[in-house]
Symmetry: C4
Subunit: 388 residues, 4 copies
Amino acid sequence: MSYFIGRNREARETYGFDEIALVPGNITVDPEDTDISFKLGDIRLSIPFMASAMDGVVNVPFAVALNKLGGLAVLNLDGINTRYENSEEVVNEIIHCEPSKATEVFQKIYKTPVNRKLIARRVEEIKKAKVPCAVSCIPQNAAEYGPIAKEAGADVFVVQSTVITVKFESSMQKSLDISKFVREMKIPVVAGNCVTYRASLEIIETGASGLLIGVGPGAACTTRGVLGIGVPQVTATVDCAAARDFYYKKTGKYVPVITDGGMLAGGDVCKAIASGADAVMIGSPFAKAKEAPGKGYHWGMATPHANLPRGTRVHVGVTGSIEQILFGPANTDDGTQNLAGALRTSMGALGCHNLREMQLCRIIIAPSIKVEGKLLQKAQIVGMGKQK
Amino acid sequence: MSYFIGRNREARETYGFDEIALVPGNITVDPEDTDISFKLGDIRLSIPFMASAMDGVVNVPFAVALNKLGGLAVLNLDGINTRYENSEEVVNEIIHCEPSKATEVFQKIYKTPVNRKLIARRVEEIKKAKVPCAVSCIPQNAAEYGPIAKEAGADVFVVQSTVITVKFESSMQKSLDISKFVREMKIPVVAGNCVTYRASLEIIETGASGLLIGVGPGAACTTRGVLGIGVPQVTATVDCAAARDFYYKKTGKYVPVITDGGMLAGGDVCKAIASGADAVMIGSPFAKAKEAPGKGYHWGMATPHANLPRGTRVHVGVTGSIEQILFGPANTDDGTQNLAGALRTSMGALGCHNLREMQLCRIIIAPSIKVEGKLLQKAQIVGMGKQK
Amino acid sequence: MSYFIGRNREARETYGFDEIALVPGNITVDPEDTDISFKLGDIRLSIPFMASAMDGVVNVPFAVALNKLGGLAVLNLDGINTRYENSEEVVNEIIHCEPSKATEVFQKIYKTPVNRKLIARRVEEIKKAKVPCAVSCIPQNAAEYGPIAKEAGADVFVVQSTVITVKFESSMQKSLDISKFVREMKIPVVAGNCVTYRASLEIIETGASGLLIGVGPGAACTTRGVLGIGVPQVTATVDCAAARDFYYKKTGKYVPVITDGGMLAGGDVCKAIASGADAVMIGSPFAKAKEAPGKGYHWGMATPHANLPRGTRVHVGVTGSIEQILFGPANTDDGTQNLAGALRTSMGALGCHNLREMQLCRIIIAPSIKVEGKLLQKAQIVGMGKQK
Amino acid sequence: MSYFIGRNREARETYGFDEIALVPGNITVDPEDTDISFKLGDIRLSIPFMASAMDGVVNVPFAVALNKLGGLAVLNLDGINTRYENSEEVVNEIIHCEPSKATEVFQKIYKTPVNRKLIARRVEEIKKAKVPCAVSCIPQNAAEYGPIAKEAGADVFVVQSTVITVKFESSMQKSLDISKFVREMKIPVVAGNCVTYRASLEIIETGASGLLIGVGPGAACTTRGVLGIGVPQVTATVDCAAARDFYYKKTGKYVPVITDGGMLAGGDVCKAIASGADAVMIGSPFAKAKEAPGKGYHWGMATPHANLPRGTRVHVGVTGSIEQILFGPANTDDGTQNLAGALRTSMGALGCHNLREMQLCRIIIAPSIKVEGKLLQKAQIVGMGKQK
């Protein structure tokens, strides 16, 4: 709904995961009978879980492990794995540096240029395990890195920046022609990130095989704090899924949308699919895997930015294996393990047999938490006093 | 009201206890003159309070004590009391284990199969005290346990799962035919949990004598966090009560709805009735009774789940006897004791003579906590407890 | 605005102090030129501040001090001052008892019956200082205490219960005939508490000279937590003021409404007047006065309730004299001192010359605080981690 | 949108920075190509950043440093710099006094009268550095200080009070005739603070060259707590910008509006411009500059108020140079450094080439913090600071 936020100026109300909930269906379905597979281009993945291209989350061993289980990890070609042979050591340096030095260490490490040979080598290392291989880079590097990765055997190429649009205006930099890139790559190209109907539709029309959804989704997201920009994930996903549905109706081609960011537990994943996503890309939940290179730490690509660093390394701890995180048995009770099991159980209660049905389930607005402690302090100062 | 949460996708706004308040009436009534009795099938209970089928709350002695006072405790036939003769010892093991081992201990204890003989024995133990006896199990076990319990003298049978629907689709499991079960049991059957008009109406049409309302009601509820599913209790109760009223108007048969979960203090109980409930089922408030087997701890049936454990044991402490909790005198000042007194006092201020009148009282939307940390305290005092 | 909170059930959205703010006017006025006087019956008070009939706030010396300054304190005839000659000692007992014993101590102290002779004596003690004298009791005692107080010289009589209505139904207790009481008392009678248009209008029609507004106003209010009942103060004040305005238009008689409860600092007082109040009754802000008997503690009359105690003693500390609290100079910077100065300054910025103009100023909805710390804990559990 | 907050009483919903977010555009633009310059009268500033006239933020050296970088600092003619020759020493006294003595120290220091000779001297000291010079005072002093400052070479004069209106009614004080003042001053006059369409339009019609927007913008703002008055900054900016646009359409004269207050990090600045501002005036972010006289402390002009002190000194710490704060490289990752870079980056993602285009970007309602404690951290890190 739109509201006037002042004279002659309207703004839509938007929604994130914490503001909605799903409503049980009129029938229930045995979770064992649900189908949660997902198709990206011609590749069918048995589970709709992708791992974010973050240096604390995905390296070669992690990608091999996740992809064997039916998911798809994306290796960042702009990161540590292609800048350093000994990427593990470098990641360790980040993990062990003092908090006060973190920004400096980040900026130093990411100054080393990308080694083109390592691009091919990382792809080959993953392919050696006979699993699908997905890699990513920013638009500026795509024209160069894309062919190298494809040559080396990559199955999926992801072009990703904070905000992607078909048209980028610059007096100095060259802009990536996404349509041309897609045509030449031939392997599925996923592009992102988008949050609006129109930008999604324009990307879909370039021939991309998938779309990443999400700009500044989390309330605490750096993009939102530093740039003021962001769209909560439920609204972003619903809108971009509408572009997908429109294009599908018009052309018969179904381009999956992948919600990227802001999901912490099973419930968030369920809500993303219910909002219209075909799959999810998650970072923080996988950063807790013992296979993740960050050993419980993760950070985004804006963190090492030379001039405008955003975010910092975040500690989430190590809680279990990728397998536990995806399939259980959970040894935690907070919904961060057995994500696939949670998805199936949720589908059962919603009465959905597959993800496409789940995209149609009933959503309600149900703000989750309003209680808090910070305010107590204000109350104390102002004079409500304490109970004695 | 419905809002667009994105293109072509509408969602209703829903409400929980913390978001509403009751408005004093145009007359006031002496609390001593109010009638708070409630009828379930042919059984008239002098107070509308049922105790949840939780192993930390209801065992035989607790059921006898509560039912003597006019309430109705539900003994869980899938729990510790029917798996172990020495149920008290087993409950003690849960209470005293280390926090880090809790999930493991739970999973181990609930692996022991149910002993059919104990089903009958527990019912007989309760009936020996000449009080009504209510027992429960999940739909999958109802066809088997129901007749045993009825034979042994049970007065009320509760069929309960996270979400119940008349139709359950499974390629492997057999689905319970609720209509048939109700017909054959003859004693009142209560089914749950429901949260929607349609699912409630379908259950009512099976001939059930009562309906449990509530799926993921609490803001911090595990169902909501892990599965994304949940409907706040006020909206769920209003909707299901509407199904009851429709059916009553159509057939003349009045099937009570019982709000189950999310109530911590007297005010929540009052709001549940005002939302349309005929009675409430509460766990946490009764877990504080000195008669409760959990000695101040409680947990739900999802906690010991083998693959997708949810929730954990919660510590609420022991504050008084069942009688104090229901009828006072309160030795706490937070609304968790003298629940029946609070209900009567509230009815007096609302100008209501009985529960049916209270279902018609005026409700306002009045979010409870935005600028006070007070609720944090309330949560602590009132008994949400801390995770241990 | 009304919303459906479920099928066929509507509820109005309501507002408290924290959800609104006042908008500066099109002109500004010198605060020194503002008139903040207020008329109750034939008594003109130079400031619109009344002190709540709480035993921790008002005793004889406090009443004398406040009333000399132009305000009006209400002495509780059902409290310690009329039960005990040595009321100070008794208050000290409450203040110094151990927290765990507080409820018990309260219940014991308030068991001693009221001494009728002390009613007259307290009134005379106040009148000896040649200031107006206001006293209060519950409706059940009004017919008896009223004449005693009037005989002794009381200028204003307050009849107060949690919720007052003209019609009270009881099979055992006698109901107060408010019209008759007002007629016979002749001195101004103030009645409360009300929160709705209709109940206010009915009270006004009995001939009462003033109306107290407020039932369960605070978010953390006991009435709301224990009984589920309460209406946020802005909406309650607007509604009751509408009844006053209707009656004034119809009869030419202006019956002031006094907002009672939920105000902590100057801004809340300003908002109460802007919502339509003619004056405010405050407890907590005056409990901080060094003249207050509670020495920084206060409690309500529901706290010592024998069967359903609500609330507890609250510690607010001692910050200054009544004069400082009302007129400054403030030695705190949080808006809890110089309340009259804050009111005048606000009126200046709003462009209002007197309280009646202030009742017409522009109000906006502007929720004040949403940030909090409690949730951090949830975030940590769920896995957002901490920044390192 | 307007809502009834009670009978016959409507109130608009209003919005602050935390409740909105900006939506990425349909194209993206290279941040290097964006134009963020801003014109005040005939003075073109290369960046739209003004520094608040606060004694902890702006003194002569700070003004010289900021204005050299393209911004514009406002020196307070009612403050320490014009009361004391040795202003640094006096600021030090404030910084180093004990918290409990702060209000007293403030009140003492601000009792010393303004020395007219220092007004001219401070202006000359700034002009000596060949940078633009802006100074401010309250309306009561403008007629006297204005000519002195102009004589000494000031380029911009700011007339500022909590709330300014063209008409001020007082029986004792003389009111400033703003139109006459503007006519006589000839140099650009900026007036504030306003928050409504009508008051803005009236000020613009006096011939003022700029408008300061903001009264009680922050949720924790003293004006709001003590006086109940305040309008969240997004709505205030949108409304006042509408007055500017109306006047521009009618007369062809463009009078910039400058949002003043409530901005902590880059995202807030971006949102202010997107709401319609032509520039921002910030205090707290500049108080962190090593060039700021307060050495990490700041306070407003209401703090030393003799009778109604509001607010207190706030500690934000020193994080870097003015240059770092404006242009980076950032050594913090929280959006409080490289504000100009953040603005350009945001404009790039929004697809805006200049500030006027950014005023038209798409805004959504997206409350920032409901379920994360993250904002608590943000508040701490970002610089709201703690009270000392």
